[in-house]
């Protein structure tokens, strides 16, 4: 297991480096660079005519004149060695300051969503498989399909409405008004959790529907396996038997798709965030692109992809632990 983990860890690092190179190339792709935007922004409407030489001077000042590979190594070196993501040109401060809080909140939403997804879909999927073709099974299946059928933003609006009517919750945003600008504290973290559940449920619902069906299907298969009958014939108590034998294998496909879930949450988050008035990374990413603010865009892209790669690593380790046969192939 240790060797397997080490191998997968090295694989993750290599993947991340390749991803970072790709992210950097993507950042370079749009025509023009921030020097153009900067000149345009600074002198537009002032009547000052800007020459190519002026832009070149800005370029040198910002360090954009160096060859691309060199800038890549500067960039990634600073991130790895100093945790410094570079300058956010448009904000005239460091990228870390600009994205710091938003990255944290996006991560909170991500993990909140994942936790709800798995806490709901796995036990209910197992239950539905055991009670196959019962009223409870059909009821749960129908309810979960609602999540697949309804678009997220609609779900967000509906939940927002009911949360406000029934719980009198001031929904919208991730913090209540008085906590918004307060420094981090336990009370603020509690406030975050009190607000987090709504976007997490909205984002989790369709994933729950999907994973619930997966668990139900694999669990139904596993329940018919001879090894389950054999364990029952040895007198293993039913609940322990279900968890130890079929359920352990039934959650296999769920664990192996953690990475997909992360990916999907990131792509659905921006729309939900607009409806619920959340601050998160997606919106900032778009703005950074429009401004050609490459280090902000790069940092966001990098964080999102790193998160996916990292969760894939976690999923690999969990899979190997769930099913020891996987390590042989590794």
């Amino acid at each position: 297991m240790l060797r397997f983990t080490a191998e997968r860890f090295v694989g993750m690092i290599v993947t991340m480096l390749l991803v970072s190179l790709m992210v950097f190339i993507i950042m370079e792709l749009p025509p023009g660079d921030y020097a153009d935007r900067y000149a345009f922004r600074k002198y537009s409407g002032t009547g000052v005519s800007v020459t190519e030489a002026d832009i070149q001077a800005i370029r040198v000042e910002l360090g954009l004149d160096k060859p691309m590979l060199l800038r890549y190594f500067d960039w990634i070196g600073n991130i790895v060695l100093h945790g410094d993501f570079g300058q956010a040109f448009a904000f005239e401060t460091s990228v870390t300051k600009v994205i710091g809080d938003k990255a944290l909140l996006t991560t909170a939403i991500l993990f909140g969503t994942l936790i709800i997804t798995y806490l709901v879909s796995i036990p209910i999927g197992i239950y539905a498989a055991v009670k196959r073709a019962s009223f409870a099974d059909y009821g749960l299946t129908t309810f979960s399909y609602l999540g697949l059928a309804l678009p997220n933003f609609l779900l967000a609006l509906i939940l927002l409405y009911f949360a406000n009517r029934w719980f009198n919750a001031d929904i919208g945003g991730l913090f209540s008004a008085e906590m918004k600008d307060a420094p981090w504290s336990l009370a603020k973290a509690g406030d975050l959790i009190a607000h987090l559940w709504l976007p997490a449920i909205v984002l989790a619902w369709s994933a729950v529907a999907y994973q619930l069906q997966t668990v139900r299907a694999t669990m139904s298969d596993e329940l018919n396996k001879l090894s389950v009958t054999a364990a029952r014939a040895r007198g293993v108590p039913e609940t322990k038997l279900l968890i130890k034998y079929p359920a352990r294998l039934a959650i296999n496909p769920v664990v192996s798709t953690i990475g997909f879930d992360v990916n999907r949450i990131f792509s659905e988050l921006p729309i939900v965030a607009v409806v619920l008035g959340l601050t998160e990374l997606g919106e900032l990413l778009l703005r950074a692109y429009l401004d050609l603010d490459m280090y902000v865009a790069g940092a966001i892209l990098l964080l999102l992809t790193f998160m996916i790669v990292f969760m894939n690593f976690i999923s690999d380790i969990l899979l190997a632990w769930l099913d020891p046969r996987i390590k042989l192939g590794g």
Binding site: S227, R234, L249, P324, L328
Partner: protein, 336 residues
Amino acid sequence: MGDLLTVENLTISFRTDEGLITPVQDVSFSVQKGRTLGLVGESGSGKSVSTKAVMRLLPGSAVIAPDTRMHYTAKDGQRVEVEKLDPRSRAIRRLRGGEIGMIFQEPMASFSPVYTIGNQMIEAIRLHREPNKRQAREIAIAMLERVGLSDPATRIDQYPHEMSGGMRQRAMIALALSAGPALLIADEPTTALDVTIQAQVLDLMRELQRDLGMGMIFITHDLGVIAQIAQDVAVMYLGTIVERGPTAEVIRDPKHPYTQGLLAAIPSLDRLNARMTPVPGDIPSPTERPTGCPFHTRCVHAIAGLCSARTPREIAPEPGRAVRCWLHDEAGRSAA
């Protein structure tokens, strides 16, 4: 020697989309302490279903008829009325594994692939014999050695996929025996094995059964195997036991036309050039169970008008033997 297990009038039906089917009808047999009962029949004749009913392992769609009696005498002498137990009760769980062990045809599929052999053995031992983990492990290692696995202290921590087919079947036997059952149900344990390994496993099972003084139900479709391992035999056809008695007598002098057909169908080394003589016809589908004697559609001796209309009762043509056939029931024939 007392009866370990007595099954009387076992009838099992399944609710299916095509209606109620009854794969086992009015089956009675008994197993004595220290003896082996061979249950022989074609696939689909209800051998496995009958023994699963004894363990109450049938799925929820199965119904056991109300006049079924299944009595088991536990190791402490207590009589258990198995048909009355709730399949989820503690009492049936004590029976499963601890009193009645079961081994299956597919050793690979009957182990869970994600736990070591030892994990699954120790679980069974701790459930029924010895709650202490260290001692349970020692019992497991001793049992693996007993079934002839080399280096059992290493084998115990291996996964099923790290073993060969023959080794897995030995481990499966060790797993079933480790909880100390008084009755072992072996459901075609040698069918999936190579012929040479088959002989070794048969020898091993016979030896273990004798040494441990267990009763055994040995399910197979191979009368040759029955002759090697079972003292008593019951021949099943389409969910009914058509003939039972001591193996040697049944093989020497089969009474039922189906048993006669089965014995004639065994290929012999003396008659290599002769064509094989199969039982004519095909086994009918359980949804289209023939009326009267289930075998009448394939029977060369069928009595027109009688066998297809009326179900024969079980009679004793000789002491210790039983057969369900109108040919041997003169009294019943004249009454009809």
